[in-house]
């Protein structure tokens, strides 16, 4: 299936969960410093493991950036 991750389409395994997707992205840390939004709703860290993904889901992964 395909999901949108930070605005770009990405092929993921059918039945893949959110945590699995995040682990595949080689982020420097999953423990802190990032947050995730699925279809416009924030998914808390403790819920990543049990959050399933569906075709055409929209995932946003954010962190702190320069800002005033």
């Amino acid at each position: 299936m395909d999901v949108l991750v930070n605005g770009k389409s990405r092929a993921v395994q059918d039945g893949a969960g959110l945590r699995m997707l995040l682990e595949s992205l080689r982020l420097p840390s999953l423990e802190s410093g990032i947050a995730v939004c699925l279809n416009g709703e924030v998914v808390r860290r403790q819920d990543w493991e049990r959050t399933a993904l569906r075709d055409r889901d929209e995932v946003e992964i954010v962190t702190a950036a320069q800002g005033g």
């Binding site: 930070n6 992205l25 410093g33 946003e60 954010v62 950036a65 320069q66 005033g68």
Partner: protein
């Protein structure tokens, strides 16, 4: 290396205490090295950051967040770029989840030319965020009525602009700031429009509790030197306020006393002194 011991906190915002009354933004610096040196020169404790997508093409690239945290800075995430209440609320939730702080600088912009806050949406977003347990610092117009409403909603501070973001025009309406200071009890932090050090001193002399600035330092010709100037101005303005200034008067008032002044009388200059006898 262990972070330095927290300095004595004289500036209280909600449940959080800070030693410095100067809050710096992290935007518009030429590079991270200059940013870090400017933050140090400013003596800032609290630094604002935006919430943006992780760069998935280079996820392990230079990391602002770890840089700031390693150097002991505390973070004030903002909702910059949000035009709707929903965007702002979701961004705040993401910020809390990512950074582990419930402080949020709430900004919802109505107009791209002036970057003026949308007061109506600001009030609604503030209500929702306060209800969700955030400590909200709203970037607001310098209107005492809106600021009072924000306080009544439960914001932990109000942040009226001095002038539009990045404009460098300084404190355009000190009268309004004085009205806000009179009306609200929460900390008043001037946010936006600062141009140079004297603007910071003016804000603090008026009685403001703090100043938030970014462009005035980041785009100065020497950001690190300007950061130091801002720090000194903030301290000078705060102390001048505490010291209690003299009132302004229309007429002059001689500072030297009249008592003990010599009398020259009718003697002509250069005439010989009269002989005794």
């Amino acid at each position: 290396m262990a972070p330095p011991a927290a300095p004595k906190a004289g500036f209280q915002i909600g449940t959080e205490g800070f030693a410095s009354r100067l809050i710096l933004g992290s935007a518009r610096y030429p590079n991270h090295d200059v940013l870090l040196r400017a933050l140090q020169a400013a003596g800032a404790d609290l630094v604002t950051v935006a919430i943006r997508r992780v760069n998935l093409d280079d996820p392990t690239g230079e990391n602002l967040l770890s840089l700031l945290q390693r150097n002991g800075y505390r973070l004030l995430p903002n909702t910059a770029g949000c035009h709707t209440v929903r965007d702002a609320v979701v961004t705040a939730e993401l910020a809390r989840e990512a950074l582990g702080t419930n402080l949020i600088k709430l900004e919802i912009i109505a107009d791209e030319d002036t970057l003026y806050p949308d007061a109506e949406k600001l009030l609604e977003a503030a209500r929702q965020l306060v209800a969700k347990g955030f400590q909200v610092l709203p970037y607001s117009i310098d209107d005492p009525i809106t600021c009072k409403k924000l306080e009544d909603i439960g914001c932990v501070a109000v942040m009226p602009l001095g002038a539009p973001i990045g404009s460098g025009m300084g404190i355009l309406n000190p009268y309004n700031l004085a009205l806000i200071l009179d009306k609200v009890r929460v900390p008043v932090i001037v946010d936006a429009g600062i141009g140079t050090a004297s603007d910071v001193a003016i804000a603090m002399e008026l009685g403001c509790d703090g100043v938030l600035l970014d462009t005035s330092v980041a785009h100065a010709q020497d950001p690190v030197l300007m950061a130091e100037a801002m720090k000194l101005a903030c301290e000078a303005g705060y102390k001048a306020r505490q010291a209690g200034r003299i009132p302004k008067k229309n007429m002059a008032q001689a500072s030297s006393p009249r008592q003990g002044k010599i009398q020259i009388g009718a003697h002509k200059p250069g005439a010989p002194a009269q002989k005794a006898g």
